[in-house]
């Protein structure tokens, strides 16, 4: 075996990427349909489905909070990883800066949404 091998920390990002990919594949299309088409056009769903009180109640529920956080955060971790690696593939030697921007924005958005969700109370 080669000497001086360093363990890669990629599994952290790769796991978030994998979870995000799975989650967005499962919920992404249906969320686009509900929030972007069905509710605004009152198609199959009444238009007050996503009214402020209902959404607030959803965000104050423990499971609702988890779901919202997962949608925002995991989608972003997925996108960050994908964008970072696509830069690499098209030959942009994405260095530390690109890494910080990609993963950093996912991290900041995760923290901000967690704080906001907790601030909404239970």
């Amino acid at each position: 075996m080669k000497a001086g091998l360093k363990r890669s920390n990629a599994p952290i990002f790769w796991s978030l990427f994998g979870a995000g990919g799975m989650f967005s594949a499962l919920f992404g299309p249906v969320l686009v349909f509900i929030t972007g088409i069905a509710v605004p056009l009152s198609l199959m769903l009444p238009s007050e489905t996503m009214s402020y009180p209902k959404m607030l109640a959803f965000a104050q529920n423990f499971i609702g909070k988890g779901f919202i956080l997962a949608v925002i955060s995991l989608f972003l971790w997925f996108a960050a990883h994908r964008i970072f690696h696509s830069l690499h593939e098209i030959g942009i030697h994405a260095g530390l800066g690109a890494k910080l921007i990609c993963y950093g924005s996912a991290f900041v958005a995760t923290v901000v949404s967690a704080v906001v969700l907790l601030g909404l109370g239970f």
Partner: protein, 251 residues
């Protein structure tokens, strides 16, 4: 035969390290028949136009893995690619992408050979076994778990196809990981934990961004991309669960 009168233009990437600053293209007009491979086209050029044209070949039957080149930009074995499929267009042959060129169509494979050695490509038994214990018995399932990954002929077409290897030549790469996986999956072998150090290293599987082109160009259907992917999962498990394992996993 009117067939043998046909002439195809072959554009060849030439590079002589002793006189050329950089590689350049040269065009040759090669008469060909229907049964002529691209390799035979190159041999025709060597025999009739320029004896210094340098390329590797041996078996002429997609077994030895030495005749790989870029054919119109796609990594292929030149002995199983036919001129008739490109005629009447010009065909361009170049040294395999992502490797340093040694001369003309010959690339420097020493990095690849080192990688092959580094994965410990041999069975490391779980425990010492004496002769009187007899042979190993393997079930068809145990055999099927690894047999696909034994078909690799080390042609390195998958490396020429891999954009990540192109960007980071330290990446262990598709074929070496497929072979590593072949030994890990062998029921007689017990060194998966040892090999994990390499799989999980910065040179390891996480360089792969699941492009999948390696498996597409592989002439032996080894599916190296699959081996890499499985080992990403293995490495991720090892990363998070290593603290629970009694031996502490690899560092």
């Amino acid at each position: 035969m009117p067939d043998s009168q046909r002439i195809i233009e072959i554009e060849v990437l030439r590079y002589n390290p002793e006189s050329d600053k950089e590689p350049h293209l040269e065009v040759y007009k090669v008469p060909f028949s229907d049964d002529m491979s691209v390799l035979q086209g190159a041999q025709y050029i060597k025999d009739h136009f320029d004896g210094s044209l340098t390329f590797r070949w041996s078996c002429r039957m997609a077994i030895c893995g030495s005749c790989g080149m870029m054919i119109n930009g796609i990594p292929k074995l030149s002995c199983e690619t036919f001129l008739r499929d490109y005629f009447p267009n010009r065909i361009r042959i170049e040294a395999m992408a992502n490797f340093p060129i040694e001369k003309d169509l010959v690339v420097d494979l020493s990095g690849f050979i080192e990688k092959l050695e580094s994965i410990q490509p041999y069975i490391i038994p779980r425990e010492p076994r004496s002769l009187d214990q007899g042979e190993y018995i393997q079930s068809p399932e145990q055999f099927n778990a690894y047999i696909q990954f034994t078909s690799c002929i080390n042609c390195t077409l998958c490396y020429a196809a891999c954009p990540q290897f192109g960007l980071n030549p330290d990446f262990i790469g598709p074929a070496a990981i497929a072979l590593l996986h072949r030994y890990n999956m062998d029921s007689r072998d017990g060194a998966a934990a040892e090999r994990m150090e390499l799989v999980a290293a910065e040179e390891g599987v996480f360089n792969c961004s699941a492009v999948g082109y390696c498996s597409e160009v592989c002439p032996k259907h080894v599916d190296p991309a699959n081996a890499v992917n499985i080992n990403k999962t293995n490495a991720a498990k090892d990363y998070f669960l290593r603290f629970l394992s009694p031996k502490g996993g690899s560092k």
